[in-house]
Amino acid sequence: MPEYLLLLLLVLPFAGSLAIASLLRTAARTLPSWLAGGVALLATILTASYYPSVTNGKVVRYEIAWLPELGLNFTLRLDGFAWLFTMLVTAIGFLVVLYARYYMSAEDPIPRFFSFLLAFMGAMLGVVLSGNIILLSIFWELTSIFSFLLIGYWYHNANARDGARMALTITGIGGFCLLVGFLLIGHIVGSYDLDRVLASGDIIREHPLYLPALVLILIGALTKSAQFPFHFWLPNAMAAPTPVSAYLHSATMVKAGVFLLVRLWPALSGTFEWFWLVGFAGISTLLLGAYFAIFQRDLKGLLAYSTISHLGLITTLLSLGSPLAAVAAIFHMVNHATFKASLFMAAGIIDHETGTRDMQKLSGLFRYLPYTASLAMVACAAMAGVPLLNGFLSKEMFFAEAVETHADSILDQALPYIATLAGAFSVAYSIRFIHTVFFGPPPTDLPKPHPHEPPRWMRFPVESLVFACLIVGIVPGLSIGPFLHTAVLSVLGPETPYYSLAVWHGFNLPLVMSIVAMLGGAALYFALHNYLARCEDGPPIFRHLRGQRIFERILVTVSWKWARWLETNIGTRRLQPQLRIVAVVAFLAAFLPLHLSGFDAKLPPVRGVDPAFVMLWIIGMLSALAAAFLAKYHRFAALLLIGGSGIVTCVTFAWLSAPDLAITQLLVEIVTTVLLLLGLRWLPKRLDKIDESATFSARLRRLRDFAIAVACGVGMSILAYTVMTLPVPDTIANFFLERAYSEGGGRNVVNVILVDFRGFDTMGEIAVLGIVALTVFALLRRFRPATESIGLPEQQRIQNAYDDAQPERNKGDTVRDYLFVPSVVMQWLFPVVITFAIYLFMRGHDLPGGGFAAGITMAIAFLLQYLAGGTRWAEDRLRILPLRWIAFGLLIAAATGAGSWFFGYPFLTSHSQYLTLPLIGKVPTASALLFDLGVFSLVVGATVLILIAIAHQSIRTYRVKAAPKTEDA
C-alpha cells in the first residue's frame, strides 16, 4: 500500500463531515447516514488493506514538510499498535453509524449529528496516526472539541449542556497540560518526531525535567481516560445520545488516554514515579469505578462507571512496567471496546423501546426483547469475565500480573486483593444489569408501555460485536492472536515477551482469584438486591461527595468570585484611572530595568552650551508648561502655547540638521492648529465658576497626577540624556548614506529612505492616513451639531449687534469685512502656495522637501481659500473632490509598486535616471518620484477631506437655524 493513502485515511472523515454539514437541515436522514456509513466503511477497508505493511514491526510513514525550521513536520505513522487502534476506531465507527441510523429520531437534526461524528472520527484517527507529538496534541484537542459538540448535541437539554461543558473543561485542561508536557519532551529529546522520542527513553528518564514532563503528560492522559480524580466528567457525559456514548465513551475517545500511555510506554515507563503516579490513579479508579457502578440507577451510569473502572484496570496494568502487563493492557483495550460498545448499544435499545433507563423501573424485559436480552447477557458476561468470552482472557492476564511482584511496595502487595475485590464488584454490577432489567415481574410504569424488538439492522451492530466477543473468547489464538502480536511487537519491539492466549492455563492462582471474584460478586449482588431496588442514586457514603458539585464550586470560585474580586479591587471602568495605570506601568517598565542594571543618575556636566538653543528650549519648556497650566479654563491660550511648543520643535529640527523634519513639522503644525480651532468651536467651554479645587480630594488627585507627570518627565529626560551620551553604534544609517545616490538616485537621503528603501512602510502609512480621513468623513458626513452648540460664536454675535445698532450697516457686514486685507492677500496667495508645493515636490528627491511636505502645502493652499472667503465662497469657486485625490494617490502608489513586477523585480523596486528637459535642464526621474506623487496626492486629499468635514459642520448648523446671509464661518 502506498504511504500517501494514509493522508486519504485521515482526510476522508473530515471531508465526509464537511459534505454532510453542507446538506440542509431538512435533508432526509437516509442520505447523511449513507454518506457517513460509506465513509466509515471505506476507512475500515483502507485500514484493513494496510495490514500487510505493518506486520513484523514494520512502520508506514508519510511525511510532508510543515514547519521544517521548527523541526515540525506533518508526519503520519502507522505501526501495528496504531493499526489495531485505527481498526477499532473505523470499524466500531461504522457499526455506530449503522446503529445511529435507527436510533436517532426524525425530529433530531440528523446531518449535524453525522457531521460531528465523522469529524470526531477524523480527529481520533489523527491522534492515532500522528507521527509528531505536536500534531498529536492538536488532534487531541480536536477530539475534545468534537466530543463537546456531540455530548451537547441535544443542547435544549440543560444536562447535556452542563455535561458537555464539564467534559470540555476537564479534557481541555488536560490537553493543555499535555501540550506543555510534549514541549518539555521535545526540549529534552531535541525533536518532536515520535520515532525519535520513542528511541530516546533513557535520555528522557534521566533528564531533570522528566518528572514535570511526566506529570503534565499524565494529567493529559488521565483526564481523557476519566481516571481518578478526574473521572467525574464521564458519567455526566452520558447526557449524549447513546450512539455517541457507545462510540466515544467506551471504544474510542476515553481510550485515547490509555492509548497515549501505551504509545509513550517505551519512552516514559519503568521508573518509580511512573509506577506510583500511574499505579495510584489506576488502582483507585479500578476499585472506585467498580464500586460506584454497583449503585447506579441509570443503565448508562452503570456502564459509564464500569468503563471508568475498566480503564483503571488498563492503567494499572500499564503502571506495572512489565512487558507482559503491557500485552494484557493492549488486549484488554480491544476486548473492552467490543463488549462495552455492544452493551451501550443494548442500553440504547432498551431506552429507545421503553423510554427509560432507570433500573428501578425496568424489569422483566426478557419477555419482550428476548433477542436483545440474550445479546446483552453475553456482553455482560464478557464484562464480568466469564470464561469462553474475551473479557475472561484479559482479566486472567491481569490477575496473573497482579500476583507477580514488580516494585515491592505496599501498593504492589495489596494488588492481588484489590484486583479480586474489583473483579467481584464487576461481577456484581454485571449481574445487576441483567437481573434487574431482563428478569423479574413485568414492568408496571414504563413511559412507553409496549416494548418490542428493534429493527433488524439496529441489532446488527450489537450482534457483530457480541459475535467478536465470543470468537475471541473461544479461539483467541486464531482470531485476535496475530493482530495482537503485531500490535505488541510494534510497542515492545525486542522486549516482546512470550505469552499464551490459550483459554485453559491449568488450575492456577489467577483462576482461583476468578472463581473467588465470581462467587463473591454474586453473593454481594444478592445481599444488596433489596437495597438496590429502593435506594437513592449513587453509592452509600460517596453519594454526597459529588465530583460534579466540587468541580462547579471551583469553577464558580475561579471564574467568577476571584475575577469579580480582582475587578472590584484593582480594576476600573473609568478612562482616567486606566490612563493613569498605563502611565505608571509604562514608567515602571522603563524604570525597573534601568534601576536593576545599576544606572547611576548623577548630574551630568553642562558643556558646549549655545545661548540660542538655551533660549529656544527654555521657550519651548515654558510654552508646554503654560499650556498644561492654562488648559483648564483658557483653552484658546493653551492652543496657542501648544503651537509655540510645536514651533520650538520645528526650529530644533531645523538647527539640528533635519530640514525635512522641520518643513513637515511646520506644515503639520499649521494644519493641526486649524483643526483644533475648528474643533474647539464645537467642544464645550469650561468656566471658572465650576471650581472644584475647593474639595480636598480634587486637590489630592491633582497632586497625584502632577507627581505621575513629573516622574514620567524626569524618567524621559534621563532616558534621552542616556541615549545621547552613549557612543553611536554602527547602524544601518551608513548603508543608506552610501547607497542613497548610487542605488536610490536621490541626494536627499531621508526622502530616498521614505520612497525607496522603506517604501512599503510609506505605503502603509499613507493607507492609514487615507483610512483616517475616510473615517472622519464617515463620522461627520450626515451629522449635524447638537442644538445647544448651534448658536453663533460670541464674537459674531457682538459684530452682528454692532451692525444692528448702526443704521447705515446691514447685519453681517462686519463679519464679511473682518480681516478684509488679509483675506485678499490669502486669495492671491493661492497660486503662489501651489507653485511652492510643486517646487517642494520636485526637489524632494535631492533636497529637503518631498511628497509629504508638498501635499500638506497644497492642502494649506486650499485651506487658506476656505479661511479667506468662507466655506460657501471657496466651494463656489473650487471643486476639490478630496476623495478622488485619495483614491488617485493610493492607486498610483500601488501601481508604481506593482510596475516593478513587470520587469521581474520585487514590489516597489525603484528605477532612476536623469532626463533632460528643454529649458529646465536635467531632471531626476526615478520611479520613486511617481510613488512620491501618490504620496503627495493622498496627503492632499486626506488633509483637505478632514478639514472640510469639520468645516462643513458650520454650514449644516446655519442652514437649519439662521439666515443664509451669515453662512460664512
Binding site: L579, V614, R635, G679, I708, V714, V728, S742, V772, V776
Partner: protein
Amino acid sequence: MEVLFSLLVGVFFAAAVYLMLSKFLVRILLGVAILGNAVNLLLFTSGRILREVPPVIPAGLDRQVAVTANPLPQALILTAIVISFSFFAFLLVLSYRAFQDLGTDNANDMRVAEPVADSAPPTGY
C-alpha cells in the same frame, strides 16, 4: 546641550502626561498634541544631535563623505509626524462626536456601554 535637550523632552512629556490624566476630552486632546512632539524629539535623540550637517549628498559626489546626521531616525520621525497628525485628527473628531451624542465631555460620565447601575452577571450555574 544634551542636558538641556533632554530637559526639553522631559518637560514635554510631563506636560503631555499631566494633560492626558485629565478627565475632560479637550485637555486629553491637547495632551495628545504635545505628546506627539515629545515622542518625536525623544526619537530624534537616537540619532544624536549634530548641528548643520543634514543628510543630503552634495552635488557632484555620489556618496556622502563627511559626517552627517543620522537619516534613519529622521525618516522614521517624518512618518511619525504624519501618523500622529492623523491620529490627532481622528481623536478630535471622535471626541466631538462623543460630546454631541453623549452630551458630555467628561470621560467619567460617558457610560453608554457600561452603565453605572449595571446588573451583575449570573453567580452560578
